[in-house]
Homo-oligomer: 584 residues x 2
């Protein structure tokens, strides 16, 4: 070893010890006849001290060290005169006897500090320098700690980690596959798995009983939002279980991870049906760190001439609102911003009604012309409105109203700091519908994936009213982000065939895509179910990241490019010829 | 849960308990008025008992259950009258009150037993049934246990598991890359990593200090021998270390894995140089479960007219042999087989000399014409030949002699049972050459990979006699199989540039292939080194498998095909158009 101690472990009780350290020069300070160097490694920072009076030559070579030089130093641990309470090694320093330069460094393209001056693009290109920044380094350590805690828990519960292959058959599950041309069988392709869904179900057919895997998954989607072409799942499956078993097991595991990685004790997770989540929070991943429920008004509105409300109700739509606590004093500009927010294309409202319950006890509204004060106060009561509150009401198609109010409540919560930054909202959303209607084509499509088991009591609607059938499907939602999705699976070939047929797949298509799976179901498939965690997002949430890129060692840029390696790249034509393909 | 207990946990102390079990029907036996069913799950087998006298109807439905039906049973644990000492649950049985069929099964295409009647091809096609066989199931469990033990040890030593990307740049490391066409950048391709070699070195540049990863690697090679297009490595790297630190750490880990997974305490691992391994065992992965060293005779041969020996020595070749203990009584046919063995194309000897030290004290040889008895006995002494021993001597180019005798010693050891099947030979082979000469082209090529650091004391030969330069490279060899390969890496840009130049790469090629890595070396790369374990092979060795397919859940057949999923397969032309490629 090039060191006897690392840069994070020396304390006052090591005083007098001779040690050898190795690491990177974080900074060099020249103070009169003294030179101080902060030496950094993964474990921390230790101050090195050089004195011109005791060793002029050594001291002068030390001043010549540049940022990020790698050096090895020998010296004695001594107590600092000026202690630094901000770092664990802040009570000591090394009285350096000699040092060796192990490697030089050019000046890095950005500062190696949490508050760096480098753009994200530059930092992705020099990711090996970016990872030297404490925050990113600590994120990768926390990620490893979290995964370790997951494995600990699952191993303890009798789960077995099994690796499934990555060169599989292209079996579209909803997203686009990455393809890998076969050299030995020209014209044929492997696909990279979007998830090990089918393979883990086959492991249940194989009798492995409890499986998990921390596994890379691949989806060739466009880079809208926070997506990566490859991402990591904690993938799990259990046999002979019902939903409740899954809830117990993975709620337990999630709590264990919080405890191990963050020292946080989570309370039991609430459960909310998909129907209620949509009704009260306008979202299937509600953030419950704050309240602000959506209140539906169709049944309680007084009769007036206000066409917007009347039309919505007559057309089977919804009038509903939220109470923006303490926002009655919003300016015209702020109210206009809210209107613009709900009018954005993907929300699509025509506008929004406001009722302001001012601190002075007066009530003002954008619909004063149609509603008298008493009526407005009655509406306010539905929201438990108090002095200072702002009620915001939307009227349109149900889906638009919910989406807009759901988004608005999140937006206001952030702006108004309605929740503690250290708070956690972790809950189960259950009873998703099995099918939904594609709004454009009118086709029946699946909500989660085609292997989810319907609720037995809803099977009666399978043919007559398929979108009414609830699935035994569940998500785990953390601070408004879905971090787990799962279901009890279909294990009977007949039922699986019925679902595929309902989705409009012909027997030939089913056979080509899922034949091997249905074939497996002929040989004693046990009842089973499971889930998959989106690991990158969970790590991101637990490490204060803004995108999942912040939770990965070497992410792709938003264009799908690896800026460090410069991939994807053009390859030798010879390679393509060997694969039996050419570019067009 | 569909069960209160599993099929492996009930013992006599559960007598009288009412339990619910679920599992697969292994077999149904009908004995007079009694019906016995072996119910199987991952955890074991439990006997179910039905009595016609107490419940005729139930008993008759039980007789109708087919092999591999999935059932759930309720009943009471009771002591068996005829105990079975071969299984842990053999003292009890379940007096069944009722059962439910959870799923039916068609008759499986082969028997679900260790001694199955299914061919490997059939079993690969129905891998989900193959995994139900106890041996394969236990192999997967042992695999998980081994990996768990690796992680335990490495976590304890301060290693951090970090995931590296799988969609990277094509940077040929020796084998052929699998390519992944980019949809967003037509004409460009990602490659699947042959190993995370460069990325883990960048993690050292990034200061992560100690890294590991259980990771899939991909090589698009032909399916000679025991290869898989995707395989798993335990990949490791450490900073600020010398070879000795790597030996200590990974020897410790290997012992821990043996102890945890098999209860075996391994002794300290011997170390042998590459030069000695070749000299004494004719192989860089010697199996030391038995002795049988190669003995070189050039210096000690008496002068005779035997042209084969004389020519070999004059041409700079080698005369050497091995002592096949207790084989003096080999028949003419057996001796002919040995001759055929060494004459095989890939060994290429012209023949082999034998000297037989018979049990009756006489000496006979295929070179009686040229050597008198005294001379033969003198040669015998070099081998410590005793009565009953057979000395086999080859003379040819050094490489052919070593290869042939090395292979022969292994072949004889297996045939003659020279070693205990439960014995383990685990050793380090060190000091591999940095370069070798390509026998066909005469080019200088690397032995391990181009990132291995030369021994500092051999740098003097770098230009004058490059193949004399030893690298700080090491393999771990287990029962004659390489299961780990590693090296101290080059961390200085200048030296890395020199190695690339020596390998005949132009600066432009270096820049295109490894530019980002060399660029990283400008910014303070620490001294570092590491290794990678071939996990599949290690698991195979520890579970008594014959090929690495036996150590994987879903391997490819030798043609690179997944027989279960039928991959690779033809895809929609639409998919190819989106990727900007077409087949030719």
């Amino acid at each position: 070893m090039f060191r006897t101690k690392n840069c994070g472990e020396l304390r006052l009780n090591h005083k007098g010890e001779e040690v050898t350290l190795a690491g990177w020069v974080q900074r060099v300070r020249n103070i009169g006849h003294l030179v101080f160097i902060d030496l950094r490694d993964r474990y921390g920072i230790t101050q090195l001290s050089f004195d011109q009076n005791s060793n002029k030559e050594l001291c002068e070579s030390a001043t010549k060290l540049g940022r990020e030089y790698v050096i090895q130093v020998k010296g004695n641990v001594r107590e600092r005169s000026a202690k630094n309470a901000n770092i664990p090694t802040g009570e000591i320093e090394i009285d350096v006897h000699n040092f060796v330069i192990l490697n030089e460094s050019e000046t890095p393209p950005f500062t190696i500090e949490n508050n760096t001056d480098g753009s994200e693009e530059l930092r992705l290109k020099y990711r090996y320098l970016d990872i030297r920044r404490p925050h990113l380094k600590d994120t990768l350590i926390t990620r490893a700690k979290m995964i370790k805690a997951m494995r600990e828990y699952l191993d303890e519960q009798g789960f077995i980690e099994i690796e499934t292959p990555n060169l599989i058959k292209s079996t579209p599950e909803g997203a686009r596959d990455f393809l890998v041309p076969s050299r030995l069988q020209h014209g044929s392709f492997y696909a990279l798995p979007q998830s090990p869904q089918i393979l883990k179900q086959l492991l249940m057919v194989a009798g492995m009983d409890r499986y998990y895997q921390v596994v890379k998954c691949y989806r060739d989607e466009d880079f809208r939002g926070d997506r990566q072409p490859e991402f990591t799942q904690l993938d799990c499956e259990m046999s002979f279980v019902e939903q409740e078993d899954i809830f117990q097991n993975f709620e337990g595991m999630t709590k264990h991870v919080f405890k191990q990685a963050k020292g946080i004790e989570l309370a039991d997770f609430p459960r909310i049906t998909f129907a209620d989540a949509m009704k009260y929070y306008g979202s299937d991943k509600p953030d419950l760190r704050f309240d602000c429920k959506i209140v539906e008004l169709n049944a309680v509105l007084p009769k007036t001439d206000f066409a917007v409300f009347n039309n919505a109700i007559e057309n089977g739509g919804l009038v509903a609102g939220i109470n923006a606590k303490k926002c009655a004093n919003y300016t015209r500009k702020q109210l206009d911003e809210i209107t613009e927010f709900v009018k954005a294309t993907h929300r699509g409202l025509g506008g929004i009604v406001n009722i302001r319950f001012a601190e002075d006890g007066t009530v003002k509204s954008s619909i004063d012309k149609f509603f008298n004060e008493e009526q407005l106060r009655e509406i306010g009561q539905q929201f438990n409105a108090e002095k200072g509150d702002l009620i915001l009401i939307a009227a349109d198609k149900i889906s638009k109203v919910r989406k807009s109010l759901g988004d608005l409540r999140l937006d206001l919560a952030k702006k108004e700091n309605w929740f503690d930054k250290d708070a956690w909202s972790v809950l189960w959303v259950i009873d998703f519908p099995l099918f939904e209607k594609d709004e454009e084509t009118g086709d029946i499509i699946f909500v989660h994936h085609p292997f989810c088991s319907p609720h037995p009591e809803d099977l009666q609607y399978f043919d007559s009213d398929p979108t009414r059938v609830r699935a035994q499907t569940y998500d785990l939602v953390m601070n408004g982000n879905e971090i787990l999705s799962g279901s009890i699976r279909i294990h009977q070939k007949d039922l699986q065939d019925r679902v595929f047929a309902k989705l409009g797949l012909t027997p030939e298509e089913v056979d080509a895509k899922f034949g091997f799976m249905l074939n497996a179901f002929r040989y004693g498939a046990p009842p089973h179910g499971g889930c998959a965690f989106g690991l990158d997002r969970w790590v991101m949430l637990m490490t204060g990241g803004e995108t999942i890129r912040d939770a990965m060692a070497f992410p792709k840029a938003s264009s799908g490019k690896d800026l460090m390696m410069d991939a994807p790249a053009v390859v030798d034509v010879k390679q393509l010829v060997e694969l039996g393909i050419k570019t067009i």
